[in-house]
Amino acid sequence: MPIIVVIATFTGLVSTVQTSYQLIGTVPRYIVGTTLGRMVMIELGPILTALMVSGRCASSMAAEIGTMRVTEQIDALETMAIDPYRFLNLPRIAGTFIALPILTVFAELVALLCGAVYAHYFLGIPFSLFNYGITHYFYARDFFGGLAKSLFFALVIASSGCYFGFKVHGGAREVGKAATYAVVTSSILILVLDFLVALVIFG
């Protein structure tokens, strides 16, 4: 959560700076709010949160399951007639499925709030005008499209972490490799999926 706050804060600030730099003087000032709102909800919120959660969670899932593999804890589950895939994967996938959209919405709120504060104090755009820009051009499809993305990203993050964790054979070195592969793979898949989902929903 603290990492998400940091990322969202600076995403909101930088996006507002960039938007105002490119648009102010050519369009009405409330368009800064509109642009930031849609940018954060459609793209920046879901993808930056997903990449951050990927780095934090896919690696830890792979390392945790990989360590269980090399210390025979997964064999122990099998000898106890417990399906290790169900026992270890399902809670992780379900947890990521629930947590990532919530984190995404939270990151979006933080980014918009920080953007509004920056616009108010440094660009002279009142909160009411910034809010008008966000709400006047708010499309539910933007918000829910972003959330749909985060659901796909959640699946990719948890699956990568679990898959590479289960694939571990050997010792500590392989556990480290699995963590790296999980993050790299999920990050690439997030970017690819971002494009594909955007194509379907917004294309």
């Binding site: 269980m68 210390t71 025979e72 804890q73 064999d75 122990a76 099998e78 000898t79 106890m80 007639a81 417990i82 399906d83 026992f87």
Partner: protein, 229 residues
């Protein structure tokens, strides 16, 4: 009864198990001796279906684990408690949760009865009062006792011990050996012990086999055969 029939297993050109056959009668504990790296653990894991065998079959009470379907394999495994050499305790769970996990997964008894069962197991393994400790806070010997406790959770018919006394100090080793003997005598647990510890083998084994270069042979005069090669 467990019947191991002509089980063979090789890794590339290395023959680990070569037509291994033996039987484990009910309420009997058999010991498989052999130097490190001869494939004793491979034999145990192959028997449970954790590793595929190249040929042969292992039959538990008339059901071959090699030809059984997944659900049947799980049913067989519920009748087997496995004590891993490295204990394989779940380090994110305390002793009570480690022992109660298989009970929670496979039975529908209420929490009170599960707690009663865990308390009983802790008493049997001599770990009463240590239920809330995590594996990281336990000594190697205590972990071994908890691993035996976890293996007992579902009250299995068979117990498989993989090097149960290796690396333990003499006092803890005697404690583990005494527990294994008690489980066999008082709870009629049959099973297999793989070890390279002769004293453990002599103390707990009803029958002793030697696994060497993939072949298994029953030993009658253990020390003579082992020391004379």
């Amino acid at each position: 009864m467990i019947e191991v029939k002509n089980v063979s297993k090789r890794f590339d050109s290395l023959v680990v198990l070569d037509n291994v056959s033996f039987e484990v009668a009910d309420a009997r504990l058999i010991v498989i001796l052999g130097p490190s790296g001869t494939g004793k653990t491979v034999l145990l894991k192959s028997m449970l279906g954790l590793m595929p065998v190249d040929s042969g079959e292992v039959i538990f009470d008339g059901v071959s684990i090699q030809s059984a379907r997944e659900q049947e394999i799980y049913e067989i495994r519920k009748n087997i408690g496995f004590v891993f050499q490295g204990t394989a305790l779940f380090d994110s769970m305390d002793v009570v949760d480690n022992i109660s996990l298989p009970i929670c997964e496979h039975t529908k008894v209420d929490k009170h009865k599960i707690a009663q069962r865990v308390v009983h197991i802790l008493k049997v393994i001599g770990m009463s009062g240590k239920g809330r400790l995590y594996p990281g806070a336990l000594s190697g010997g205590m972990k071994r006792l908890v691993a035996i406790g976890r293996a007992l959770a579902l009250d299995p018919k068979y117990l498989f011990y993989d090097e149960p006394t290796t690396g333990l100090d003499p006092i803890m080793r005697d404690r583990v050996v005494d527990l294994m003997i008690e489980l066999k005598k008082n709870y009629a647990k049959s099973g297999i012990v793989v070890t390279h510890d002769l004293d453990t083998a002599k103390a707990v084994g009803d029958e002793i086999y030697m696994l060497k270069k993939g072949k298994i042979n029953k030993l009658d005069k253990i020390r003579k055969e082992v020391y004379d090669g």
